[in-house]
Symmetry: C2
Subunit: 206 residues, 2 copies
Amino acid sequence: MPDQISEKTIARLCLYKRILGELEVSGVETIYSHELASRAGLTAAQLRRDIMAVGYFGSPTKGYEIAGLQHSIRVFLEGKNTGTSAVVGVGNIGRAILAYMGLETSSVHITACFDQDPAKIGSVIYGCRCYSLDELSYRCNQYNIQSAILAVPAGVAQLVAEKLVSCNIRGIMNFAPIQLQVPENVFVENINLAVTLEKVHYFARK
Amino acid sequence: MPDQISEKTIARLCLYKRILGELEVSGVETIYSHELASRAGLTAAQLRRDIMAVGYFGSPTKGYEIAGLQHSIRVFLEGKNTGTSAVVGVGNIGRAILAYMGLETSSVHITACFDQDPAKIGSVIYGCRCYSLDELSYRCNQYNIQSAILAVPAGVAQLVAEKLVSCNIRGIMNFAPIQLQVPENVFVENINLAVTLEKVHYFARK
DNA sequence: TCGTGTGAACGTTTTCACAGCG
DNA sequence: CGCTGTGAAAACGTTCACACGA
């Protein structure tokens, strides 16, 4: 089935899943492509294309069944896999992420956080126990951590990233404003807030 | 000159500018396209294409002059404009952004933050004075605020976004996990952390 | 030789447009 | 009718490949 689904499609599927979850809670049972698309800020044609990828089929009369579609996307995205994620670096950004993810319902569970500040190690931050970076390998096994949110200072980001890779982490959400050098089987998503703000600011005028 | 530059190119130009800034500090004077591209995690061909957009020309023998190229990009991106930005909603995310932007050198200046919590109003948070949302219009004029970082709870995000639009803000970096309904001359960049983490987690396995 | 600048080719992503069906 | 699913076209973004120059 997965004959090359693009990264963009995956990102949108995650979004649909989230929206469908909200709809389910509010009691709606079916939805048309254009309605769901509008909630996601996309066109109906694009949504239908994306849904082709997961192999779900709607009905021309009823549209899509919320529960069924949500389930199909979930199966497609998550498979039978049950890994977790961790926050590495509990400074301002790391803490904010922990707080944010605690509120948001997400299918990705954050099971631990790591820092090297002795004052933080051992404490529980927004529901997450903080461990020393020295324990990274051990805890990754314990919690089956497969991805990480890297929120350490730029100066040590490369070093820490290598540690993550050596612990078999294959997905990194990188907040450090540098280009990480990692093996190509490791997926890195760079979130460069300063650059993004600059872009927004550029488009704000004209 | 600006005959339709894509959003992606703009984002990369912001990135080049940042990297050039670091290079300048470290004393380098010229750089070849493949070197700069590698620091940005891109190909040389793409970098050269992007540089075409700003109308700068390098020398085949020396490569690009750091100072000259940086200046060209700066002129292209910033023009003679000197607006500022603001953080709206000083919860965990808002505070983290304020702290982060205080450290990062950015050409976009954050001049104020807004909240409706009386405990925060009037205080200075990471160097930024916090105002009531009621003062939004007044302070936007005072500080020439043209873009905003929206970090309020999802439930009030749409309402606050409308307030921003009515204060003539035309660029919004939106951290609320909802699709904002705004006029089409307002640029919105959605940063959905939960969805992004899910995507990273998906690519971490397989 | 090893750079840059750029037309042209290529690949990817989005949109169009329409058949088929209740 | 108005919806879905989908081939085909269009739009967009990236990469190739080569002319030209020190």
